[in-house]
């Protein structure tokens, strides 16, 4: 993959990462006498990043989305070949934008329950860490950011959480650290083996290592496993998901939002960038395993979610299921699946982030998250119910909303690659409808009794925070084209990279039936078969897909 630097503002990504970090330092230096200024300062710092991210989105050249843009490199630890190297391509662009936008919303939307100074400082450190992970193109730099995010999240859960917060925070920290411990060994091994095989100096440059592909097959498979373990814990994949329900349930609202929307994506993003790209052969080799784990996650997460009595825990388990979709999309190893996976990363971030915010609002009003204690909230809080409804349906994957586009592409891809697994996974879509609709019904429908009847509706500020989420949910459901056309070139490049480097591997596409795109589906009543080009779906004009299928289910 080639890389281009931005001409007008070459350091945009570095600044994007450093601004929140600097904001955290400013917060620490703020006088004790003005606690009212803490939140505005935190907001400004995160908003600057958000503005930069939006500017970047506008400047991003969709035509060369497969190459790294806004690329920048500095020496960091020269003696060990470690550099500060940043860049975004179609895979990371929307994750960066989503991260930069969701942080100010989480800061505005949720007040610190106590000790605001460290709270906002940790939030900003967390933002810097997450952004750094998505833009890093050096293995060590990636690892450094991947690991540093544990610290602020640990303190957010432990310091501002509920229930068994210290337990949940420690479990979260240790699980994730265990995963990445082996990854560090693998990263170092990759670099040394690469340098000894290629005869060059030791470098941790992702592109240089990934493009040369000099590792022995068996070695690469072991190393892939070490990387995959780190990401599987973060995603989280069954069976290393057990930290997630505890962390989510006990975390403060903003912590849950960030955890679900951004931090889980560090794992799925890592699987693409450092799994598929770095170890194409091993990815192909282990794809059945990963897909299997993903499918188990979908079904297990859905069943577990349906069983929950705690609304927040329910949403947490639904994440396990949704992330399973992303993993099977990724390891379908074809354009549809991977595009759908990347889309779902953003979609899940938006939908589940919003869901956690809403659950937080309910908790704030009712001081309980027990589903059985809630009921009939629709009457006293119609607006809250409506917003919850839209977000919940987007999480279910209702056509016309964002979740549908991603899930459909994932299932298409998975169907071509692992047919029966796709069938099982599709059952997960139905299960999602079951547990979410059932939860909605129990919480919002029925007669409101006691305190439930006095639940206040959405306040102005809350409505303003939710508005961008709703807008994103609808926009990406109705008109995903601008997103897809930026994601897809990068996805194609990754798939081509895998095909080039794995002997005997061809992108799994529908061979009996020609490939199907969203556009085709929309016209499916007119024509059952259209000519496949044998190269998978490369032309998604998904813009009208959601529309036309609007009443399809």
């Amino acid at each position: 993959m080639s890389a281009t630097a931005s001409t007008s503002f070459p350091a945009v990504l570095t600044v994007l990462v450093l601004v929140p970090a600097a904001g955290a330092l400013v917060l620490l230096a703020m006088p004790r006498t003005r606690p009212d200024l803490l939140k505005p300062v935190a907001l400004v710092a995160s908003a600057v990043s958000a503005v930069l991210a939006v500017w970047m989105l506008a400047e991003f050249d969709a035509g060369s989305a497969a190459s790294f843009q806004f690329w920048q490199q500095h020496e960091w630890i020269t003696g060990w070949g470690i550099s500060w190297q940043v860049g975004v391509d179609g895979l990371s662009l929307f994750l960066v934008v989503m991260t930069a936008l969701i942080f100010p919303l989480a800061i505005v939307g949720v007040d610190a329950e106590h000790s605001p100074k460290p709270y906002y400082a940790w939030m900003l450190v967390l933002e810097a860490g997450c952004l750094g992970t998505f833009v890093a193109l050096d293995l060590i730099m990636f690892f450094v950011f991947f690991e540093i995010v544990l610290v602020p999240m640990y303190f957010l859960i432990g310091g501002w959480g509920h229930g068994r917060r210290a337990y949940a925070a420690t479990k979260f920290f240790l699980f994730t650290m265990f995963g990445s411990a082996l990854m560090l060994v693998a990263i170092v091994a990759v670099a040394f083996l690469h340098s000894s095989a290629s005869g060059g100096a030791v470098t941790f440059d992702l592109t240089a290592i990934a493009e040369s592909q000099v590792l022995a097959t068996n070695t690469a498979r072991w190393l892939f496993l070490a990387f995959a373990l780190a990401f599987a814990v973060k995603v989280p994949l069954f069976p290393v998901h057990t930290w997630l329900p505890d962390a989510h349930t006990n975390a403060p609202t903003a912590g849950s939002v960030i955890l679900a929307a951004v931090m889980l994506k560090l794992g799925t993003y890592g699987l693409v960038r450092f799994g598929l790209y770095l170890f194409p052969e091993a990815s192909v080799y282990f794809a059945p395993l990963m897909v299997t784990l993903g499918v188990i996650g979908i079904i297990y997460g859905a069943i577990a979610a349906a069983m929950q009595r705690d609304l927040k825990r329910l949403v947490a388990y639904s994440s396990v299921a949704h992330l399973g979709f992303i993993v099977i999309g990724t390891f379908a190893l074809n354009t549809e699946g991977l595009t759908g996976g990347v889309l779902q990363m953003v979609n899940h971030g938006v939908s589940t982030g919003a869901l956690f915010l809403l659950v937080g609002m309910i908790y704030e009003r009712r001081h309980t998250r027990e589903i059985s204690d809630l009921g009939g909230l629709q009457k006293p809080a119609p607006l809250l119910a409506a917003v919850f409804m839209v977000v919940m349906l987007s999480s279910v994957g209702l056509p016309g909303l964002n979740g549908f586009v991603g899930e459909l592409l994932v299932l298409l891809g998975a169907f071509n690659a692992h047919r029966w697994w796709a069938v099982v996974a599709a059952a997960g879509v139905i299960l999602a409808a079951v547990y979410l609709l059932w939860a909605y019904q129990r919480v919002f429908h029925g007669p409101a009794s006691g305190a439930n009847a006095e639940t206040p509706d959405l306040r102005w500020r809350e409505g303003l925070v939710m508005a961008p989420f709703i807008a994103a949910i609808v926009f990406m459901g109705v008109y995903p084209k601008p997103v897809i056309e930026r994601v897809e070139p990068a996805v194609d490049a990754i798939i081509a990279h895998v095909e080039d480097n794995v002997a005997g591997f061809a992108e799994p596409v529908a061979d009996v039936h020609p490939s199907v795109s969203l556009e085709d589906l929309a016209r499916s009543d007119k024509a059952d078969h259209n000519g496949g080009d044998g190269n998978g779906v490369t032309d998604h004009n998904g813009d009208d897909g959601g529309d036309h299928n609007g009443g399809g289910e």
């Binding site: 544990l150 432990g158 650290m177 265990f178 560090l184 060994v185 170092v188």
Partner: protein
């Protein structure tokens, strides 16, 4: 050298005294302080003089190290018995830096706990002189001399808190087991001399390089005994039994010094003997160090995780760090040595900083170090809690701290030497150790202090003091700086390792 007979009458070899300043300054400084304190009535000189003098002497020693480093010429003294090369200077800097960092805490600490500060300071400087001799030793006998100078001072320092029984126990344990290990070391030296005919480290290396020993049992037995003897000194499992009790019982600033300077000296001795002198026999000793490293990592991190006393957590964590450093030794390469040196420097700062926080909190008798006494510290002393948290996270190897870079460098050395499994063991044990540090953090941040009425006056607002405060701030800043911009220390340690 030419024929010795031709040079009769014997002329003493020329000595470059300036090159020996890192040894002479602390040694002479200790003696001068001892004279002043013995001859001048104590009401004439302020009590703080001891610590100020120690700090000044250590600082002067550091300056001399910097000057010698820039002179870029290896100083050989006493007929090549003492060689102040780059590695010796690097370790001397770590040792003297640890002393300089430990000293500012002393005035207030000694007054509170009623430890004799003059004796403590004299012994600290003497121990430092011994440690620097170890760093520069080019001969097993000189190495032994330096080790004994350092150890005997350390034994006494450990027992210096006369009012506390644990301190006396610490001194006794340290002394008995230390003397025991010294016997191993001496026996090892004798056997290696028997096998190679020399005690000079270079001589041993060139002998082993030039000759193939047909019967190498004596050499191997000697090497094994040296490993046991030095393993005791660096508290490597299974020779670590003395360490936790000694660390906990000794006055806390002394513990800081034992974890930093004493450990650094022990490891440089390991490098000198094994990587340099016995480098050609690396295939023989590497498996032993491999096993030693695994055991040390496992014992240190697992036992650290189950302690209920902050000082004991740090003591066991110091053992687990020794395991990490052994991973670098096991690589038996220049990059391994560089990694060891980096780790020693980074850990010295972290250790002194962490133990200084403990010293500040430890109360009148230097024994209030239980995790429950830390409960709610974040609410009472947010800055102190934050400082200790950063130092603990650094020990856990969190990025943007020197601890991460140090761990990275030893892992890189191990991977480069193809010791993948050792690297994996090390990283997994780092996770276990992280649990131990998190328990301390949990106590400070997420738990309320329970018995506030009982000892409210003492615990609720422990007074930090200017000296200790400056030390903690300096340690935290250095730790973060070395984590964000590690290139400086990295290039220094690489140069010191001869890379």
């Amino acid at each position: 050298m030419g024929s010795v007979l031709a040079q009769l009458p014997v002329r003493t070899p020329p000595v470059d005294w300036t090159g020996l300043l890192p040894v002479l300054l602390p040694g002479a400084g200790a003696l001068v302080l001892l004279m002043i304190r013995s001859l001048v009535p104590s009401r004439v000189v302020p009590a703080a003089l001891d610590a100020v003098w120690t700090f000044a002497v250590a600082g002067a020693g550091l300056v001399s190290v910097v000057v010698l480093w820039q002179r870029d010429a290896v100083v050989e003294a006493f007929g090549g018995q003492l060689v102040m090369d780059r590695m010796a200077l690097f370790v001397a800097a770590v040792v003297l830096g640890s002393v300089a960092l430990a000293a500012p805490t002393l005035p207030r600490y000694c007054r509170r706990v009623e430890v004799a500060s003059a004796e403590l300071c004299v012994l600290m400087l003497l121990a430092a002189a011994g440690a620097v001799v170890m760093a520069g030793a080019a001969d097993l006998i000189v190495l032994f001399l330096g080790l004994e100078t350092m150890s005997i001072a350390a034994y006494v320092m450990a027992a210096l808190n006369l009012r506390r029984l644990e301190s006396l126990e610490a001194g006794l344990k340290y002394f008995v087991l230390g003397a025991f290990s010294t016997a191993f070391l001496l026996f090892g030296i004798a056997l290696v001399y028997g096998a190679t005919g020399t005690t000079n480290l270079d001589g041993i290396a060139s002998h082993l390089d030039a000759f193939i020993l047909l019967r190498d049992g004596m050499l191997l037995a000697g090497a094994a005994m040296l490993l046991v003897g030095l393993g005791f000194k660096v508290a490597a499992a299974p020779f670590h039994a003395w360490a936790p009790d000694t660390y906990v019982g000794a006055p806390t600033p002394v513990t800081a010094l034992m974890a930093s300077a004493v450990k650094a000296a022990g490891f440089v001795a390991l490098i000198r003997v094994f990587v340099e002198a016995l480098g050609t026999r690396a295939d023989d000793w590497r498996p032993a160090v491999f096993a030693l490293a695994c055991a040390t990592l496992a014992v240190g991190s697992v036992l650290a995780a189950v302690q209920s006393d902050a000082k004991r957590v740090l003591a066991y964590s110091s053992i687990s760090h020794a395991g990490f450093i052994l991973v670098g030794v096991q690589a038996a390469s220049d990059s391994g040595v560089a990694a060891v040196l980096f780790y020693l420097a980074a850990y010295a700062v972290i250790a002194v900083g962490s133990f200084t926080v403990v010293a500040v909190l430890s109360g009148q008798r230097d024994d209030r170090t239980g995790l429950d006494t830390l409960a709610g510290l974040a609410a009472r002393r947010p800055a102190l809690a934050l400082g200790l948290t950063i130092l603990l996270l650094a020990q856990a190897g969190v990025p943007f701290t020197s601890g991460f870079v140090a761990k990275f460098s030893v892992i890189a050395a191990a991977v480069e030497a193809r010791s993948y499994w050792l690297a994996v063991v090390a990283m997994v044990s780092a996770v276990v150790a992280a649990f131990a540090y998190l328990r301390v953090v949990v106590a400070m941040y997420f738990r309320d202090s329970g018995d506030e009425t009982e000892t409210a006056a003492e615990t609720s607002k422990p007074s930090v003091g200017l000296g200790a405060g400056a030390v903690i701030v300096a340690a935290v800043l250095l730790t973060v700086a070395m984590g964000v911009v590690p290139s400086v220390l990295e290039s220094l340690s690489s140069t010191a390792a001869g890379l």
